[in-house]
Symmetry: C2
Subunit: 620 residues, 2 copies
């Protein structure tokens, strides 16, 4: 059972050293919980505070942290999320990524708010957490298996089909630097190579099951918000009907859709792969994360020409773009198959698609020869080659062993200017929205501590017609919104700063960004759960502390302002389409970066947080 | 009647050019009101936006602004306040000061939120505002008269004894640089020489009377807060029982009481002049500002040895210290008389007492001779000399003409190191709390845009046992409180920044700082009045904008970081008492200043707001 201090809100953190097999429980006080909240807040704090400089991301000194937030597992749509973080094997900096599903809610019921995994097991193991008890169990028999088999076997051997499992497939085991951690079979903590960190620790899975009732100070406001959402389902209608990816044709029209490694603009067959087409073709249903009425997750089934197991769900927008248009592929069945393989092997679909599109461009430009690719014609649009690559990457065979290192390392190996085709920041392959269209999105790619994460996609506020409440939130931060997408002046930087802080807040509380709750509702929700008399001001300050904490981690690892740099691709115009005359202006982005540093209280030239700001934020 | 945009909250601003006698009405939209709120927010905005660089504070190009806040005049204790501002003849920078009484509430009922007075009348005039109509009326017959006579005559000639009057006496007319603007006979917009600005415009008074009903979006929360206060009157018990100045003996014990121009620590006869003694001797009652149940205003009557007219109220703490212990005077009747004279003549009691104590120290050190003072023995403790000085200053006679210029100009004239005795910042004489005891208070003196204002006294939060809600507010700003008084490290600077922002918020909303409402209650109150769905975060950002706006004004006037400088006195130990071994450390204060600049987004060396911060705050 979760133990609280009398009258207060706190909980337990599980620390597991796989080297020594020592398992311990920490019970930070309420002040700690209020200062860091959970999720990304916990992860950044622990990594910054506890890790030594220079640790090998794939060595035993890395720490892999799973952290829930105070809102994880409450009976409300959007609460089925948890955050995972570590030092990234892709960026060598701090990273974190969120997943949906039911795992987080189950861990909360098992009595924990976070798990800190340290060290490295001698042989493959999995962790089993059951109503407050934690066990390290042998996983030798599971090693090498895909995620579906692994989940089935764990449930079977523990005798409970409602066990929730966070786990890796062969890609994680083989230390593919962009392996993800699956939560169930179709929710991934995708970005930054967390699956490789898990693999490096010989940790196959964390299985959880719990029955304790979450302590909530006041359930009434949660109920009221449920009713509010029920009455306002039109706000999430698109997600409810299509999941993500309904607007791909519109994206192509305005230039937001990445095409052929972000090189081109036009993709006339886009409608073959969008979520509207999926609904009318391969879709067999929709599924949801814990407690969620939005049900945005597509279930698909394909029999010909590929057999796609419906257990792995269907492709999200980021997948449709990265393994579709960005590889020049308009074959929906192939994308669905690729999505299934990524789920089975635990590969991040974004980085996987990006690495392949990078390789395709290298191939088309003669930097990779047919002899390098074991005979695979790695050309844009070649769906078979794409699927083949996924297999090779997972097993680190042939060209796959090179690509498994991620675009930056692969480009370095290939040489001859291949780095011009590496569309990444800090080593993390870019998410599937176009910075040449939405400039603040580019700034997000640039300065985000873990690289060009798709979660930097701030277009709702910056670009598309914003909801009234987003205008209101900006006003509360003293800003005007909306602003045009195609500028990156001081007003936009200020708005970006706020939206970025807000986003990180959601990743600390843990609440899904697809839900239309405004900051006031979120604050009230936190108050209802914890009993804290808190405010939006306090919560945004916590995010400010968190981003600066992440910055301090990266600086300790040797990052400088030069690492906040967009790839050359975005300073080049697209070959066709509406942005064919709109490369980004590097001078403007240097100004924007400096501007952002100033607003964050970081040195305007070096980006190092000023000690005065660090003190104000109470980081120690 | 106040005109609102449909469904929105806004109001009218009256602009009066005394040179041309043009009277106009401006109706800014709701967005303007929400951005600037009112009070100090309006004043800083208009002065920064409209005034030319280098205007003579006592010339026609200065603008004198009276501004209410959205909370002025609501039916709640603490709402009877308004703010007045201009370019200061003492500092040559921006200044503002607040007053209580009923004038603000009456102006609101007359239909205006602010009055901007420009130009200079050819001959003495007063302004009469009556239910939305404004008139410029002859005041030749009032010129030279004290405030009581003036108020009586205006009420009499306009035929309404409920008219409220903001006005000056002879000190304002004679351009004494620290003349104040009285609101009625015992509430002053005291600091910065606003009375001299009024005098320089040949403006004797602004009389107001109104009958319109203030539009309030929702009266229920106001009613609820009234009930809350009624149930929590113990929080203001001391003010209710004694007014200000009950703790003077305790102040002397810990070293907080200024004694003999901040030179000494001990003042053994302090209990002769404190508010507890006043209650048991010369006090004949208590009075209140508009709507206020606290009733903190002492009414006193003295017959011997001086006749003190009870119409002018009794001395507040700042007066008891500045014209009492800081002049070495422990004669309560003399202080009461001095207070009466300052009210009658419209002199700021703080600067008046400070100028006199400065002169006393000069005299005792031989920098002023008996020949300079027309035979007045200007020694510490000489109550008669003090009273004489007030007369001389008001009429600018003899030594009074020198002292009427304020300590900085007087010291310059006297020379021979007299500036060591000028206890001021930027030209404004220091308020009556000891920075050598409360270091953040010293930082406030140092960086406050209008100098060493007594409203920088932040000891409640910084030093004395803080109320639980103050700790909570600090937590919402991500800070810990309380902190010890005797340090000025980064944590303290961060806390100071927040408390200073909060204070300025009260001066923009207009709510009395003596009331125990917390930031959450204040936010709810503003929402109730305006119908805005606002937040503490938005309000604190507005204060951030306001302070930076004031900074920009001062920089345009040539201020530099060197003007954010404490006087030498505070870097010298007291001669006796508990702080006789505790001078301030100038190095620490230079660090604190730089630290504060950084947290404000100003250049760390020059203190100039960075353009990026200015853009974020939306100042234009």
């Amino acid at each position: 059972m979760v133990k609280h201090t009398p009258g207060g809100y706190n909980g337990k953190i599980l620390r597991i050293d796989l080297t020594t097999t020592k398992i311990s429980v920490e019970i930070p006080d309420e002040g700690f919980y209020r200062k860091h909240l959970g999720g990304a807040g916990f992860i950044f704090h622990f990594l910054q505070r506890e890790m030594d400089q220079g640790a090998d991301p794939l060595g035993p000194n890395n720490k892999l942290i799973f952290a829930l937030g105070p809102l994880t597992g409450i009976p409300l749509s959007g609460s089925g999320r948890n955050c995972v973080g570590a030092k990234s094997p892709l960026t060598n900096g701090i990273t974190k990524s969120e997943a949906g599903e039911f795992w987080g809610a189950e861990l909360k019921r098992a009595g924990y708010d976070a798990i800190i995994v340290e060290g490295k097991a001698e042989k493959p193991v999995y962790i089993w957490i059951h109503d407050g008890e934690a066990y390290i169990r042998d996983a030798t028999h599971l090693w090498g298996k895909n995620t579906k088999e692994t989940q089935q076997e764990i449930r079977s051997e523990l005798g409970d089909r409602l066990i929730r499992v966070a786990l890796i497939g062969p890609a994680g085991e083989n230390l593919v630097r962009f392996a993800c951690i699956m939560h169930g079979l179709y929710d991934a903590a995708g970005r930054g190579g967390l699956g490789a960190v898990m693999g490096s620790k010989n940790l196959k899975a964390i299985a959880v099951r719990g029955h304790s009732i979450q302590r909530i100070a006041d359930r009434e406001p949660i109920k009221a918000l449920r009713h509010w959402l029920a009455a306002n389902m039109h706000l999430v209608k698109v997600f409810h009907e299509f999941g993500t990816g309904d607007a791909m044709s519109a994206f192509e029209t305005v230039g937001n859709l990445p095409v052929r490694n972000f090189r081109d603009g036009l993709f006339p067959t886009v409608s073959k792969i969008d979520a509207r087409t999926i609904r009318n073709s391969i879709r067999i249903g929709m599924d949801a994360c814990f407690a969620c009425t939005v049900r945005c997750k597509k279930m698909v089934q394909v029999k010909e020409p590929y057999s796609v197991d419906p257990s792995y769900g269907g492709p999200e927008y980021e997948t449709l773009a990265s393994l579709g248009s960005n590889c020049g592929v308009d074959n929906l069945e192939a994308i669905a198959k690729a999505n299934e393989l990524c789920g089975a092997y635990s590969l991040d679909t974004i980085s996987t698609g990006s690495v392949i599109s990078f390789a395709m461009e290298c191939f088309e430009n003669g930097l990779l020869k047919i002899t390098d690719t074991d005979g695979v014609e790695l050309r844009f649009g070649n769906a078979t080659a794409m699927l083949r690559c996924i297999e090779l990457i997972t097993r680190r065979e042939g060209i796959g062993n090179l690509l498994a290192e991620g675009t930056v390392k692969a480009a370095l190996e290939i040489g001859s200017g291949a780095n011009e085709f590496a569309v990444q920041v800090k080593g993390l392959e870019a998410g599937m929205h176009e910075p040449r269209l939405k400039l603040a999105h580019g700034l997000g790619f640039m300065v985000n501590p873990h690289g060009a994460d798709h979660s930097c996609n701030l277009h709702d506020t910056m670009y598309e017609a914003p909801g009234e409440w987003r205008v209101k939130e900006a006003q509360h931060f003293g800003l005007s919104a909306p602003l045009p997408a195609d500028e990156i002046g001081p007003d936009k930087v200020a708005l970006f700063k706020f939206v970025h802080l807000r986003q990180l807040l959601m990743d600390s509380l843990l609440l899904c960004n697809f839900l239309p709750y405004n900051l006031e509702q979120v604050t009230d929700l936190l108050a209802a759960v914890t009993g804290w008399d808190t405010s939006a001001m306090e919560l945004i300050r916590i995010s400010e502390r968190n981003i600066t904490t992440a910055r301090l981690f990266n600086i300790r690892e040797g990052f400088t302002a030069a690492d906040d740099q967009l790839p050359q691709r975005f300073f080049t115009p697209k070959t066709d389409g509406p942005l064919s005359d709109k490369p980004l202006d590097p001078v403007k982005f240097e100004h924007a970066k400096r501007n952002y540093y100033i607003l964050m209280g970081w040195d305007e030239n070096t980006g190092v947080p000023l000690p005065e700001k660090v003190a104000e934020l109470g980081i120690f």
